[in-house]
């Protein structure tokens, strides 16, 4: 029955207990190793914004685990980020998946690029690498497709997902707020986004004060391409820009194919009030919009404005993300 288990040294709730009843010896052994610290688990961490560089740093932790493998396979697409990094560092051939077929990527030589011309050795066992594991669906599908003895490694995994992979770099509990994925993930549909400083550079102050130059700026500024929501519809864009600039702003968003539901702008008639105390007034306005919906995330560029949004947001479950500073409030 469910309760404290002396072997695993943890409380087994009903779900855990069911798992233990139905799992194989190997599965239990692997979980035991993980619980007993043979597989290292970082301490429970606070919410954080995981940067691209964090991914590669955490991928380094997989290096000792990959020692015995002849080649690395990346799970498309984002699994190719750590996989290509690790294959290059460890001088192993790099594979990927094309539909349900495993293929070695090669061009200038039989095992990769020109440097791999000197590679010798057969390829028997291949390690699959993915960037993140949440519920383990991809890992299970990899094993279904390529054989249950295939080893799958994930750079980040939730504690739940850890039971589906054969090794990982770091435990990362949900929500997975990842620089390389957040702006085009399912979280988008549950997120409000600031515009200036998030999707393009902040407007310089001298330009703000000159209407003509301001209009030219917001019509022509280059977007931050990596952050344009395309795959999933962003819930709302909420900006301190004034309502009167709506057509220009909407035209710019359309030109760069932003996928969003609604644009909320700041009321023209409150312009003077806003200019006196920008962060606080706009921060409170954004908090008001945030409170009025059941959206979970707000992405804001300015740290000080983020704090106003956080302080004026009632629900403790709502999360304010400040991507440039990497802060999650």
């Amino acid at each position: 029955m469910s309760g404290f288990c002396k072997i695993f040294n943890m409380d087994m709730n009903k779900k855990d207990w069911d798992w233990c009843q139905t799992s194989s010896d190997d599965e239990r052994r692997s979980f035991y190793d993980y619980r007993s610290g043979k597989i290292k688990v970082s301490k429970k961490q606070d919410l954080r914004f995981v940067t691209n560089l964090d991914l590669y740093k955490a991928a380094d932790k997989l290096i000792p685990l990959l020692e015995g493998f002849d080649a690395i396979a990346g799970v498309p697409r984002s699994g190719m980020m750590p996989a290509s990094y690790l294959a290059t560092l460890l001088n192993k051939p790099l594979f990927s998946v094309i539909k349900d077929k495993l293929e070695m990527l090669k061009f200038m030589s039989d095992f990769g690029g020109s440097r791999m011309g000197g590679y010798k050795g057969g390829i028997k066992n291949i390690a699959f690498v993915d960037d993140t594991t949440c519920n383990g669906r991809t890992a299970r599908r990899v094993k279904d497709t390529f054989g249950s003895d295939i080893k799958v490694f994930s750079v980040f995994t939730t504690a739940d997902g850890a039971t589906h992979v054969d090794g990982f770099g770091e435990i990362l509990e949900p929500p997975h707020i990842l620089e390389w994925n957040f702006f085009n993930s399912t979280y988008c549909t549950d997120t409000m986004f600031d515009i200036d400083g998030v999707f393009c550079d902040n407007v310089p102050i001298d330009i703000c004060r000159d209407e003509e130059r301001y209009i030219f700026w917001i019509a022509n500024v280059m977007p931050r391409f990596a952050r344009i929501p395309k795959l999933f519809k962003a819930h709302k864009l909420v900006t301190g820009r004034l309502e009167k600039y709506r057509p220009i702003t909407e035209h710019w968003l359309k030109k760069h194919s932003f996928n969003y539901d609604e644009l909320v702008m700041f009321p023209n008639e409150r312009e003077e009030e806003r200019n006196k105390n920008h962060y606080e007034v706009v921060g409170k306005y954004k908090a008001e919009i945030f409170n009025s919906s059941d959206c979970k995330f707000f992405v804001e560029s300015e740290m000080s404005e983020s704090k106003f949004i956080r302080d004026n947001t009632k629900s403790p479950h709502k999360i304010v993300i400040c991507p440039d500073s990497g802060a999650v409030l």
């Binding site: 290096i63 980020m81 790099l94």
Partner: protein, 343 residues
Amino acid sequence: MDLSKCQCPNPGFCDVFKMVMGEDPPDWKWCQSSTAQEKQHFYDLRRKVKPQIPIPERSRRFVKISDLYDAAIKLMPYVSRFDGIVGVPRSGMLPASLLSVLLSKPLFSIVDEKLEMLKFMSDFGGTRMNNFQTNKDIKDLSLVFIDDTTHDGTTAKKLKSVFGENISVVSIFSTSFGAEHIEQYSEILEPPHLLEWNFFNSGYTGSTMFDIDGIFCDNIPIDVCEDEERYTKYLQEIIPYSHRIPKLFKASKLVTGRLEKYRGITENWLRRYGFNYDELVMFPTEREAERNANHFQVVGEYKAEIFNSDKQRYFVESEPSEAKVIKSLTSKTVICPNEGVVL
């Protein structure tokens, strides 16, 4: 020349040794405490140094992986106008995978001169790409080919001969003479291309001498060094940095301050982990006491002597202070990969 009194009052350029004397040996502090004989010895060694042929300043660095990604990101405005991204195997996949994920575009690569889209959980990639939409046929997607570095343009030329002269090839780093073969680059990087992700398994390893401790494995803690039994055990059991083991190309020489008497253990260890190298040079056992009295200076001089006695162009050293000693005695290039410094 009377070297017994020669002592600069503070760090700076020393007229006697013709070099900047800083904070680390064989510099200012070393000079303050060394004997006339030691100084004479160093003076004689310095006089043999031939004038330097400098590496161009902007290329005078050990390029870190993070530099590759920073430079790749600068290409986003150009790359974003294409429908899909092709990574050139293998190392071109590093920037290509990053850019394709950041820009939410399908990722392609090459298998035997054929272009293939990488996909598993959906028709255009992973789970998230389920939502990718395009009104074009897959074969009509406009593609950009991405590589990490371009040297003489061989790969770019081959890409164009296989996939058509009109394709766009982009390289994150390119030499100025390679740049004419590609459509776009992020930064000019003149040779030598000293790259963190490739140096230890590149054509350069044949003309490079490598330090061992701190380069291929952790430095040995001082308390372990002082206990012969623990030291021997440590040398046998230490796990090497697997990403730095030279395998694809033969490293010319491994030159270590470890004593000759540990040759058996060291060679076993190198063999066990598959090091591909030509020769192991160790420190003479009979000079142990001398070495221990002033490790950096004595071992640095020894390494410089080996370095100067052969035609190799690069020395990879873990300790910056020791690297400075080596550099002070040679006109060739000394690399400190942990710090990303090239002297």
